[in-house]
Symmetry: C2
Subunit: 231 residues, 2 copies
DNA sequence: ATTGCCTAGAATATCGATTATTTTTGATTT
DNA sequence: AAATCAAAAATAATCGATATTCTAGGCAAT
């Protein structure tokens, strides 16, 4: 009864939304699996409407698929979808970076440097699970790419960028390096992108960013994950 | 018992969502006005959860703003927002058009020609309300711009394009020409864009499309609407 | 044995009522 | 008269239960 939620602007539905979103992005729920409302209610100690609202929001963001009368599922992995996603991401991310460099100021540079440093100091994988990527690294990686475009002076473009980035995150998280041991020096790629950006070299920075995104996809496409799941 | 809704895959919530969305895009609800759940329930003869779900979906699409604990409002008009929106739309629409031209095939050309013809034959405004734009023309206009990019072979890009287009639609609908009687020949602009696209002239088509979008915004920004509403 | 139909069980979508929060109102004090 | 605070009204958020739709598995017919 006495439920003291004094935090202003907070909502049970928002909390559940964040929990489920985090579960999906952190690869704690497999792509394609069903999200049954009943069990989720029980898990969060919350009512139907709350969970439905959270799932509805996620489905508008393309992290969840909603089939009327059939319920909700985590968006499935899909080869063609990843290729489309990559093309679109390359355009949006490089556009945002271009604008950011054109509008660049000191606080933007600072946030890029800071995010890069943090990313470089964060272990890529947990000691106990050397296959997957750690939550901490994923967060730092997201923060670095967000920082790169944070100076673009377009709130709308930054919001539009988030969806595709998150969609790609699911692929990154589920791709067990497996057979394809990465020969890339990912941190070097990040460093070069940041350097070029701060040096105001639009052409170099955007082409490095493009190569970075495409290379990641190439790795994912050849990973056992995308070849083992037929759909 | 009364099973009025035998349509598979339909949902009360989807219907309400479409109704409200249509109300917003057709300028039947003023920007910034509150969307109280109670009255909407009564109007549609439907329960709270249904309306909330519809509004949640709309707020993810940026047509509605959701402030926790404070309810929902139609997204307000905003000068800076329109300028940002325009910059982003120019990039996304021209990108999609570029891809469409590169992938062009006969059925794409056909749909462009068809949409252009329909648009040209649709009266811009109703006889009884010569100030506003007619629903039919808005639909035809949306269909034409959708047709232009329909050949881009990227489902994701087409979906991403829809949000900003709809956001801009609210501005188009609420701008009473007022003092600024359009000296443009809008249909000529559409025709030239379509011609260039079908002629595979990427540079011309995209720059005409860009000019088209920017010109519309320029008109809106000088209309009395954007100058009378301070926020 | 395979196909198609039908019934029980499970899950989704919707409802009506309850609880919690915000806004308004109006009395009280400075 | 202006400002402050407290009760009341309005509105948002959540809950528990009902109605509807889908799914699975058995049974009959070919």
């Amino acid at each position: 009864m006495g439920q003291l939620n004094s935090k202003r602007g907070s909502t049970r539905s928002l909390e559940v939304y964040n929990e489920i979103r985090s579960d999906i992005l952190a690869a704690r729920i497999p792509p394609g699996s069903r999200l049954k409302v009943g069990p989720l209610c029980e898990r969060f100690g919350v009512s139907l409407s709350v969970v439905r609202e959270a799932l509805t929001r996620l489905s508008e963001q393309r992290l969840v698929r909603s089939e009327p009368q059939l319920g909700f599922t985590v968006v499935p992995l899909d080869r063609a979808g990843l290729e489309d996603l990559t093309r679109v991401r390359v355009e949006i991310e490089t556009l945002a970076l271009r604008w950011a460099i054109e509008c660049a100021d000191l606080s933007w540079e600072t946030s890029v440097v800071a995010a890069l440093y943090r990313l470089g100091r964060t272990p890529v994988s947990e000691p106990d699970d050397p296959n997957g990527v750690s939550d901490a690294w994923s967060d730092a990686h997201a923060a670095f790419h967000a920082a790169l475009v944070s100076g673009c002076a377009s709130p709308l473009l930054m919001e539009l960028r988030r969806g595709p980035y998150d969609s790609a995150e699911i692929y990154r998280r589920w791709a067990r390096p497996g057979a394809v041991r990465e020969e890339r020096d990912v941190h070097k790629e990040h460093t070069e992108i940041a350097d070029a950006a701060i040096a105001r070299d639009v052409g170099l920075a955007t082409s490095l960013l493009e190569a970075h995104i495409r290379q990641t996809t190439r790795t994912l496409l050849t990973s056992d994950l995308m070849n083992s799941t037929p759909d």
